[in-house]
């Protein structure tokens, strides 16, 4: 038996190893340099959004603010001119929200119930569905762009919020179903069997057993869908008009607007406003965001 009264000295220092020390210094240096490079663009536009445009033009786009102003944010939000209408990014931001939130929630809900049906019930055509949604995930959007445009105009949804949301729901359901399938396939089959013996049907099992167990994948899917649809540009620019324009499409117009003096100050603020919703989601749900990447995508 060891002597428990006198403890040995746990604080013994390891002898200094210069090679190991040098390696540590190198590792940290590289990580810090790459980290600074990665953070630089965000830092630059964040600082510029607080600088006067005159200062930016005089000094450089990259620089520390000598005077601070919040005017850029105000202008960018409510009065900047994009495509000759001086409303700021506010209407586009709102349009994006109105389109993205329902599209995200609906596609996530459909994906979850689909995933449940696909993994826990013997379906005669489960493999067909699986192949179809996988193709749907990989399909380049350009291939369906023209048919979508024609189909939407037949449906009377051409260049409308509902039309764009519909496109994202149908396309997004492929993603969400795949995500949820990959998560739910790991749910023990015995749980579902136990529920069957307990007399619960499809929807009761879904509500009472599956949904309470799914918050991780629901959060991952919502984060992922929201970020994807919010950031999406091709469909956004194709299926929008001056009445309804998502923020990515509006931002491109601002960017392409080369006439007159470049307004980097409110431009930076506008860019940041467009980036804020996904960034907020990313910084608050980062853990889930990473999980979505590593779980959903790897399989």
């Amino acid at each position: 038996m060891p002597d428990t009264d006198t403890l040995p000295d746990f604080n013994r220092k390891k002898p200094f190893n210069p090679r190991r020390f040098a390696t540590r210094v190198a590792v940290y240096s590289i990580l810090i340099v790459v980290g600074l490079f990665t953070i630089m663009p965000l830092a630059v536009i964040l600082l510029n959004s607080l600088r006067f445009n005159a200062d930016i033009l005089r000094e450089s786009f990259i620089g520390w603010p000598t005077r601070i102003t919040l005017e850029n944010w105000d202008v960018a939000w409510s009065s900047a001119c994009i495509n000759a209408s001086c409303t700021g990014v506010k209407p586009y931001f709102i349009a994006s929200m109105l389109m993205v939130v329902p599209a995200t929630l609906i596609s996530t809900a459909i994906g979850l119930v689909n995933g449940f049906a696909l993994t826990k019930w013997k379906m005669p055509f489960a493999s067909v569905v699986f192949v179809a949604i996988t193709i749907g995930v990989f399909l380049p959007p350009q291939v369906v762009l023209l048919p979508w445009a024609i189909a939407l105009s037949w449906l009377g949804l051409s260049k409308s919020l509902a039309g764009l949301a519909l496109v994202h729901i149908i396309q997004g359901t492929c993603f969400t179903t795949l995500f949820c399938r990959n998560y739910l396939v790991n749910l023990p089959d015995d749980l579902i069997k136990a529920a069957r013996i307990d007399g619960a049907g499809f929807f009761r099992t879904f509500w009472k057993i599956v949904v309470p167990l799914s918050p991780p994948i629901i959060i991952v899917t919502i984060i992922w869908q929201f970020t994807f649809i919010w950031n999406e540009f091709l469909f956004a620019v194709t299926f929008s008009s001056s009445d309804f324009r998502p923020i990515t499409a509006a931002l491109m117009s601002l960017n392409a607007d080369d006439t007159g003096v470049s307004e980097y100050g409110f431009g930076s603020a506008a860019v940041l406003i467009a980036a804020i919703p996904p960034l907020l989601i990313y910084f608050f749900g980062g853990r889930y965001f990473v999980r979505g990447l590593t779980q959903g995508a790897v399989k």
Binding site: G136, P140, Q142, L145, N231, M252, S262, I281, F289, L293
Partner: protein, 313 residues
């Protein structure tokens, strides 16, 4: 002990109504998705192929013009330049993103203090849209406002950084922005895989006297190929779909020096009024994606089969 009986004729037993109803619900739940996805994938793709074979220009015309649009396509310098650009960009983008991502992941795997913080920093670009990425990098890389002016103002007047304004090099500006956007993603994927590697194997390697560098190169990295292949697949399709990043960064210019196939498709369909040609270009995108993805997927499949095949009784 019973003797093995003759197999009876398995007739289809009449399943009770309750059992059939129970089976029906999940089918009905999946049906809408099956229909919409079926339309989305098969009907729309075939529709697009049909239009690519028609003589449609400004408006869709449902006739048959053969492969006219396809042949005209390959005579169009906007298209051939785009394909060329995509090949160079794709190779550089994937190689550099993988390189940076894997190196970062290995460095992050060395019991780093503040790992979560660093990971948040490396990964945030993936949450930012290509439009924002492109716009920001355009400002930074622009010689008259960005890095060049910054260094000039610091007193380094001979510094020249005109990547984005030169026809020859503007494509590399796109590569920089795209690698910035994707390497954090690669790092996170690879790091997660590194964490999943069996620690006993690493211990065995250390007892066998291999240094950490050798352990990574010979033991750990070869064992995470499934993740590398997944990453490769994702990057490949990112590359082929490259569109908004370039529009925001260079507008495809100077001239048409950084045009891409996806830009060409959009331009033909909605600006130039060449529906058939745009549809044909889109078909080529699909073919291209299939041609590059299939070997990668097949490779993953073969490797998996090889690994599983050995242990199977």
């Amino acid at each position: 002990m019973q003797s093995v009986a003759q197999m009876p004729e398995f007739r289809t037993r009449s399943v009770s109504r309750a059992a059939r109803m129970a089976q029906l619900v999940p089918t009905l739940v999946l049906l809408p998705t099956l229909i919409t996805t079926g339309i989305y994938i098969f009907v729309f793709v075939c529709w697009n192929i049909y239009l690519s074979l028609s003589s449609s220009t400004l408006l869709p015309v449902y006739d048959f013009a053969g492969f006219d649009a396809y042949t005209r396509l390959w005579r169009n310098p906007r298209w051939t330049t785009g394909v060329n650009n995509l090949a160079i960009f794709g190779a550089l983008y994937i190689a550099l993103s993988l390189l940076v991502g894997v190196v970062l992941a290995v460095l992050m795997d060395q019991r780093i203090k503040g790992e979560n913080f660093l990971r948040s920093i490396f990964l945030y670009p993936i949450a930012i849209s290509f439009v924002v990425t492109g716009t920001t990098w355009q400002w930074i890389l622009n010689p008259s406002t960005g890095l060049e002016k910054f260094f000039h103002d610091l007193g380094w007047t001979s510094f020249e950084f005109s990547l984005i304004t030169s026809r020859e090099t503007a494509l590399y500006a796109v590569v920089i922005a795209a690698v910035w956007h994707a390497s954090g993603f690669v790092m996170v994927m690879v790091l997660a895989a590194l964490r999943g590697v069996d620690h006993d194997v690493v211990k065995a390697g250390r007892i066998d006297g291999a240094g950490m560098f050798k352990i990574y190169r010979r033991i750990i990295l070869p064992s995470i190929w499934p993740v590398i292949i997944s990453v490769l697949i994702i990057l490949l399709q990112f590359a082929i779909k490259t569109f908004d990043l370039v529009l925001a960064l260079t507008h495809g210019g100077p001239g048409i020096s950084t045009t891409f196939p996806a830009i060409f498709v959009y331009d033909r369909l909605f600006a130039a009024g060449e529906l058939a040609q745009g549809a044909a270009a889109a078909v080529w995108l699909l073919i291209g994606l299939t041609v590059v993805l299939l070997p990668v997927i097949a490779l993953g499949w073969v490797l998996r089969k090889q690994r599983n095949g050995g242990g199977h009784a």
